[in-house]
Symmetry: C2
Subunit: 236 residues, 2 copies
Amino acid sequence: MQKEASKEPGADRIEKIDPRFLSTLRDHVHKTLRTAILSGRFAPDERVNERQLAEQLGVSTTPIKEALRQLETEGLVETLPRRGVLIRFNASWAEEMILARAALESMIAHLAAKRIERQEIQRLEEIVAMMGKATEDGVADDLISLNETFHEQIHIASRCQYLSRMIERQQFYDGSIRRVIHSDPLERGRALAEHAAIAAAIISNDSDKAERVMRDHVVRSGETYLNIVFKKKEDI
Amino acid sequence: MQKEASKEPGADRIEKIDPRFLSTLRDHVHKTLRTAILSGRFAPDERVNERQLAEQLGVSTTPIKEALRQLETEGLVETLPRRGVLIRFNASWAEEMILARAALESMIAHLAAKRIERQEIQRLEEIVAMMGKATEDGVADDLISLNETFHEQIHIASRCQYLSRMIERQQFYDGSIRRVIHSDPLERGRALAEHAAIAAAIISNDSDKAERVMRDHVVRSGETYLNIVFKKKEDI
DNA sequence: TTGTGAGATCTGATATACCAGATTTCAGAT
DNA sequence: ATCTGAAATCTGGTATATCAGATCTCACAA
């Protein structure tokens, strides 16, 4: 952080735009703000100011406004016309995002169990095998990566593009927290067992079971996350 | 439509901005475009031009851009940076939107069955009773209105705000099509029976049954819609 | 005929100025 | 001390000009 004076409060919570990366400034702003909100760097109901954000990120208000509109549609901020923009994220929002993901992932698992084909079955089995190995090795980053691949493969087998995109928007744990979660051997074991059960159900075309097991997996791992980040429990 | 020349093609598919209503132009543009897309007034993959839309709607490109960003997050358009904006809606998208709604509504029904309170039970029973009467009377508009109230009451009982908002974004039948659907006595009967079953399951705190019945209801009525609008069937 | 590339052109991306509600401030009246 | 309302101010909303990547055109060379 090489700032000249750092007068503006809160300027340290979001990184200043820097480079030539990212196709558009809007995407960068969106991604930056989303991460900041989901990792709790804004208080619930905190007001944010478009001009101020623009200055902090070193861009004009146009990409800020567009990014805020995206975040608004995602449900992470609320705009009160001519009054202000509020952050909309807290523990119960996180819980509901997990429930949304559980509902959508289980629907996808249901369809994947009905639609999966030979080649995709093989791929899924390979992924689970690799997960088994990674679980033994205990390399968190490998597990995180395989986890994504696993769910992605199920999305592919389901042939649902719209639903897949919706699920992406419910994803909010970042790498550092995943690493904490996966550093626990018990958690690793649980996750492996669940992934194996999901894969088995899908491969055997048991759509009802796939749906159920997937839902339970997403909810349980979501609770693990909530317990770490928000230090509280919730029953479904 | 009081246009001076009407040279631009496609200008008749979207109504020109008119009034002093709606708090912001952005909201009006968003609502207008969303309705136009969902009612099939754009071909799948059709390109739309920001400047052209601005001219057709009689506004500048700023509210157009913001509305397009919202639609993009909703999954109804796709923006290729510096290349164009494409419409993303067709029969399979509609199917998946129905599946998404089914997944989310069933999750909500599940929670509503666990969380509903006395007063809300009474309200739900009243609504179902009114639905029974409206079904006999056969007034489509009353049924449409009660339908909304019914689902809304379940959302309230579930105490899920985020999920409720997500479901709103999956809603895409407009009034005219609903009216067509509800004009069929058989459909009215089916819908009433399903609504009654959903209410009964929620009231008796049978969350698993509520979930199942709600999902089947959303999927079945969605298929009815698809059969009318896209003239095709789909198995789940 | 085919290939090539400079320039015209199309389109979204970005910056900026200004507009208009909403809120706050504060002098002045009661 | 309290109320009132006009003016200053804050904030998002909107319009517009300009930037820059992506494509298309088409003369011109191989």
